[in-house]
């Protein structure tokens, strides 16, 4: 084993240069990048925690609003149901009134039409009687006698009625 001081010194210098190069060219910049990345991650985590808190707050508010809206909705539905019931009753009452009026009107119309029909049937009957009478008498009445006969018959019919 040949121990040479010059070789030992050479290797010490050689290794020292490597330590310096590795330290300044590799470890220092890479560790700097690690630190910056860790900082970014920490900031991201902080922002995420903040966002999570805000989200929880919003969720809480949403639930409260939802409950309040449900309550309001139920009240609105109840009120609407009550109003609808009221309107239903009013409409029914109004319809009843209108139906009654219509019935009365129709009855009056019916009476008028009945009278008119009756009158028409009287006329038709008179004409029929006249026609029959003509056939029975077998002669044609002149205008003056016919009129006299009609009047007499009508008077008797009216009297009968």
């Amino acid at each position: 084993m040949d121990i040479q001081l010059t070789q030992i010194l050479f290797q010490i210098i050689n290794f020292s240069v490597v330590v310096g190069a590795v330290g300044f060219l590799l470890f220092k910049p890479v560790l700097k990048i690690f630190d910056e990345r860790a900082k970014r991650i920490a900031e991201g985590e902080k922002a995420a925690t903040k966002a999570q808190t805000a989200y929880a707050e919003i969720e809480k508010n949403r639930k409260l609003t939802e409950a309040s809206l449900k309550k309001e909705r139920s009240e609105i539905v109840k009120a609407a149901q009550a109003e609808a019931l009221e309107r239903k009753e009013a409409i029914i009452a109004d319809a009843k009134v209108k139906a009654k009026a219509l019935t009365t009107e129709l009855q009056a119309q019916w009476e008028t039409e009945k009278i008119a029909l009756f009158k028409k049937s009287q006329t038709d009957m008179a004409e029929a009687v006249l026609s029959i009478s003509e056939k029975v008498i077998a002669s044609t009445l002149d205008k003056k006698n016919a009129q006299k006969l009609i009047d007499t018959e009508l008077k008797e019919i009216i009297k009968a009625l």
Binding site: M1, V19, L26
Partner: protein, 299 residues
């Protein structure tokens, strides 16, 4: 066979620059340092502050993060971790690459001829050896016999061996950690940095660890601590050197005995040993660094 079984416990000198002998282990260490520095430069130029690293940056980040976690697991203090990391990381990467580089084809096998003879003389010697071998075979053929006598073969081998003694084939590359000078240098750096870290953390009171007159027992403990610092250098240096050099010898011997397939499990074993030794050196240094930052009362 003699060339294949070239085993030298110390690194061999390849050439000299200004009176400084450059050995094959120094050359390998320089190659490893060059590789590490090139990698660091490449990473530095491609580094981007992104949350989605890819390719080389991803690989570099994986290395740094793994080492950071390893160191932080021992220190438990971010400031200490950042202080120790360049040393521990460099120890681990440099020793690991040196250990593994020795397993590459060509390291230990590509050689240059070196000796007292010149290049022309080398060529002449090699030609003479070949001529002697051809002569022996021709003689055997002339006598219409394919059997070469043992005497003739021995004569031929002796001639060749005698010629080879004048020429030595030196491997161009030898793992840096298979040289005791390198491991001593690493051990000295580790122990020296431990002292610097201790003084930096505790001030001059760090030396109370070695010189303590509070009680006779503490005084004796101080002496033991002082001795242990020197023991650390020896322990660090010889553990790493012994393991890696033994691995190299094992591979050379196995490969020369049965060159095919059989050495493969040993290569796997050496890969593992190379990693474990690098880890052991780095972890022990880390533990010593960390202990140096704690006052003697805390021990």
């Amino acid at each position: 066979m003699a060339a294949e079984l070239h085993i030298s416990i110390s690194a061999e000198t390849l050439f000299s620059i200004g009176g400084i002998a450059i050995t094959n282990s120094m050359l390998t260490s320089l190659v490893v340092s060059g590789l590490i520095i090139s990698f660091c430069l490449l990473v530095r130029t491609q580094l981007k502050n992104t949350s989605n690293p890819r390719g080389l940056q991803n690989f570099a980040e994986w290395i740094v993060e793994s080492l950071h976690n390893l160191v932080h697991g021992v220190t438990g203090d971010l400031k200490k971790t950042r202080l120790f990391l360049p040393f521990i990381g460099s120890f681990l990467l440099w020793i690991l690459l040196n250990n593994w580089l020795g397993l590459l084809p060509g390291v230990g096998t590509i050689r240059i001829l070196e000796g007292e003879t010149t290049t022309e003389e080398h060529a002449s010697i090699v030609e003479q050896v070949h001529a002697a071998e051809t002569e022996i075979i021709d003689d055997a053929h002339t006598q219409e016999s394919l059997v070469i006598s043992n005497e003739e073969l021995e004569t031929g081998n002796e001639t060749a061996a005698a010629e080879e003694h004048a020429v030595t084939a030196i491997p161009i590359f030898r793992p840096g950690t298979a040289d005791l000078n390198t491991t001593i240098a690493l051990a000295l750096i580790s122990v020296f940095v431990t002292q610097v870290i201790g003084v930096n953390a505790l001030g001059l009171s760090y030396f109370k660890k070695y010189v303590n007159f509070s009680s006779p027992i503490m005084f004796f403990v101080g002496i033991l601590e002082l001795v242990s610092e020197f023991a650390k250098v020896i322990s660090f240096a010889f553990r790493l050197f012994g393991n890696i050099f033994a691995g190299e010898v094992l591979l050379v011997v196995i490969s020369s005995l049965i060159p095919l397939i059989v050495p493969m499990p040993f290569y796997g074993l050496e890969l593992f040993v190379g990693f474990i030794q690098a880890l052991v050196f780095a972890m022990l240094s880390l533990v010593f660094f960390n202990m140096a930052t704690q006052s003697h009362d805390q021990h």
